[in-house]
Subunit: 327 residues, 2 copies
C-alpha cells in the first residue's frame, strides 16, 4: 500500500522517464512544448487519484502507470489550449506555452498531447481497454463541453447556479471522476464500485472547484498562491457572483451592478466593494456550506466503499488534503 506522497514520487519519476523518451522524437519544435508543459510540475492530482484508486484493490502500481500518465498528459493538453482561449499569460509561475513558444505551437503541440495520451492508454492490450477508452473519450468530450460553457458564460449576465454547477462538473469534476474510475477498472474492479469511485471524484471535483473560486475571493494570498480578487476584477461568473446576483436587492444590487459595469476603477476599491456586498449577503458562509455539501457527499462515498478502512485511508487522506481539511 502506498501513500499519496509516494505515488506522486512514482508518477514524477515516470513522467521524467517518458519525457526522456520524447526527446528522441522529431521534430523537436513539436515536442519541446510538451516537455516544457509536463516538466513544469503541478500537483499531479489526477494521476495520483488514479493510482490511489487502483491501489485500493491492487499493489501492482506499475500496471496503472500508463493510464496515470495519460490523464496527466490529457490535463496538460487542456491547459495549453485553454490558455490560448483565455489569453492567460502565466501558468505555474512560468509563461504559458503560447507566450513562450507561439500560438501555433500551443495548438499543434496540444493536439500532439491529446494523441500521446491515447498512445499511453493503448499500451493496455487487455479487455479493460474497451471500458477505459470509452470512459476517457467521453470525459474528454465533456471537458470540451465544459470549456465551451465557460467561454459562453463570459458574455452572459443571467447564468444560473444550476448552469454554473453543470459547467464545473464538465470542465473539472468529470476528469477527477474518470481518473478514479479508470484506476478501479484497471485493477479489475466491478462496475458498481468503479461507479462509486467516479461519483466520489465528481463530488470531490465540485468541492475543489468551488473552493478554488472561494479562495480567489476570501483566501489569503500566501496560502492560495495567486493574487486575491482576480475573479472579481474579471467579472468572472463564479458561484459567489451568481449567488450574490440572485440574492441582492436594493443598495446591494445597485452596488453590484455599478461595479460590474464600471470601466475605470482602482482595483482594490472594486475588490473591497464587491466583497462588502458578498459579506452583507452572507455569501462567504453560503459558499462554505456549498463546499461542505460536496465534501460531505464525497466523504460518505469513501465510507461506503467495499474495502477495508486501512486500504481506504490514503484516498480519504488525499481527498481531504485537496480541500485543505484536517488529515
Amino acid at each position: 500500500m502506498y501513500s499519496a506522497e509516494k505515488l506522486r514520487e512514482i508518477i514524477n519519476n515516470e513522467i521524467d522517464r517518458r519525457l526522456a523518451q520524447l526527446s528522441a522524437r522529431k521534430p523537436e519544435e513539436l515536442y519541446a512544448p510538451v516537455k516544457y508543459s509536463l516538466g513544469a510540475g503541478g500537483k499531479r492530482l489526477r494521476p495520483v487519484l488514479l493510482l490511489t484508486s487502483f491501489n485500493l484493490f491492487s499493489d501492482e502500481i506499475e500496471k496503472a502507470l500508463p493510464a496515470a500518465i495519460a490523464v496527466e498528459v490529457f490535463h496538460n493538453f487542456t491547459l495549453l489550449h485553454d490558455d490560448i482561449m483565455d489569453k492567460a499569460e502565466m501558468r505555474r509561475n512560468n509563461p504559458t506555452v503560447h507566450v513562450k513558444f507561439s500560438e501555433n505551437n500551443a495548438i499543434l503541440s496540444g493536439d500532439a498531447m491529446a494523441f500521446l495520451s491515447y498512445q499511453y492508454l493503448a499500451e493496455y492490450h487487455t479487455p479493460q481497454l474497451f471500458d477505459v477508452v470509452d470512459l476517457f473519450t467521453k470525459t474528454a468530450l465533456q471537458v470540451c463541453e465544459g470549456q465551451q460553457y465557460d467561454m459562453d458564460f463570459e458574455n452572459r449576465m443571467d447564468v444560473t447556479e444550476e448552469e454554473y454547477l453543470e459547467m464545473i462538473r464538465l470542465k473539472t469534476a468529470v476528469l477527477l471522476g474518470c481518473s478514479l474510475k479508470a484506476g478501479a477498472l484497471l485493477a479489475g474492479t466491478s462496475g458498481e464500485t468503479a461507479q462509486q469511485l467516479y461519483n466520489y471524484g465528481i463530488n470531490l471535483g465540485m468541492a475543489f472547484q468551488l473552493q478554488d473560486d472561494w479562495l480567489d475571493t476570501f483566501g489569503n494570498q500566501k496560502d492560495f498562491g495567486k493574487k486575491i480578487g482576480g475573479d472579481i476584477l474579471a467579472n468572472k461568473k463564479t458561484w459567489l457572483l451568481i449567488k450574490a446576483l440572485e440574492k441582492a436587492s436594493g443598495q446591494a444590487k445597485t452596488s453590484l451592478t455599478y461595479w460590474l459595469d464600471a470601466k475605470e476603477y482602482a482595483e482594490t476599491e472594486k475588490i473591497n466593494s464587491i466583497i462588502a456586498v458578498y459579506n452583507e449577503l452572507g455569501i462567504k458562509m453560503l459558499g462554505e456550506e456549498k463546499i461542505k455539501f460536496y465534501f460531505n457527499a464525497a466523504e460518505k462515498i469513501v465510507q461506503d466503499l467495499p474495502v477495508s478502512e486501512l486500504r481506504k485511508a490514503p484516498l480519504q487522506k488525499f481527498g481531504r488534503s485537496m480541500l485543505g481539511r484536517s488529515v
Copy 2:
C-alpha cells in the same frame, strides 16, 4: 461488391445520420462548427479508401462505417487547426471555421472532433480495436509531426528533397495508408496484406500530394478548382521549387533568387517568371516523372494483392481516379 461512387454515397448518408445525432448534443456552440465542417462535403477520399479496402475482403460494409467516419472526422479536425495555423480564409468555397465562427471555436471544436473520432472508433468492442487504435493514434501523431515540419519549412530556404518527401509522407500519405490498413484489419485480414494496403496508401498519397503541387503551378484553373500559382506567390517550398533551387545555376539561379526575395511585384509577372525558370530547368517533366514513380509503385502493390482481379478493380479504379489517370 461496391463501386467507389456507391461507397461515397453510403458514407455521405452515414455522415448525415451522425450529424443529426450531434444536433442533440449541447452546447450548440461547440457542435455547430463540427456540423459546418463535416457538412461542407469534400471528396471523402479517406473513408472511401477505408471502405474500398474493407470491401476487398468483406461485403458487410456497415461494419466498417464507424472507422470510416472516424478517419473523415479526424481529417476535418486537422483542417480546422491547420487553417488557423496557416491563416487560411477559405476552404471548399466557404469561409474557414475560424473565420466563420472564431479562432477559439476552431480550436475547441477541432479538439472535440479529435475525441469524436475516437468515440466512433471505440464502437468496436472486438479485438481488432487494439490494432486500429494503435494505428490511428500513431498516424495522428505523425500528421502533427508533418504539419510541424510544414510550418518549419516556411522559414527555411535550405529544405532538401528528402526532407520535403518525408514531410508530405507524414502530413498527407500516412492517413491514406492508415485508412486502407484499418479497412483491411477490420475485415480480419492478416498483417502482411494489411501492410501492403498501408504501403499502397503511402505511395498513392505521395503521388497525390506531388500532383496537387504540380497542378498548382502547371494545371489549368478550371480542372484544378483553385487559382493557379498560389504556391509560387507564397514562396511555398514545394517539390518543384526545391528541385529548381537544386538544379538552377547562372541566370536561372539569379532570376529565382530575385523573385523569391521580391517584396513588391505584379502577381502574374512573378508566376510567369518562375514558371519560365521551371521550364528552362525541365521541372515540369521531372515532376511528372516523380508522380509517375509513386503512382507506378502503388499500381504494382495493387497487382500483387492476394485477392481476385474482380475484387481489386474498384480500388484500382479509385486510386487512378484520385490521380486523374485513365480508368
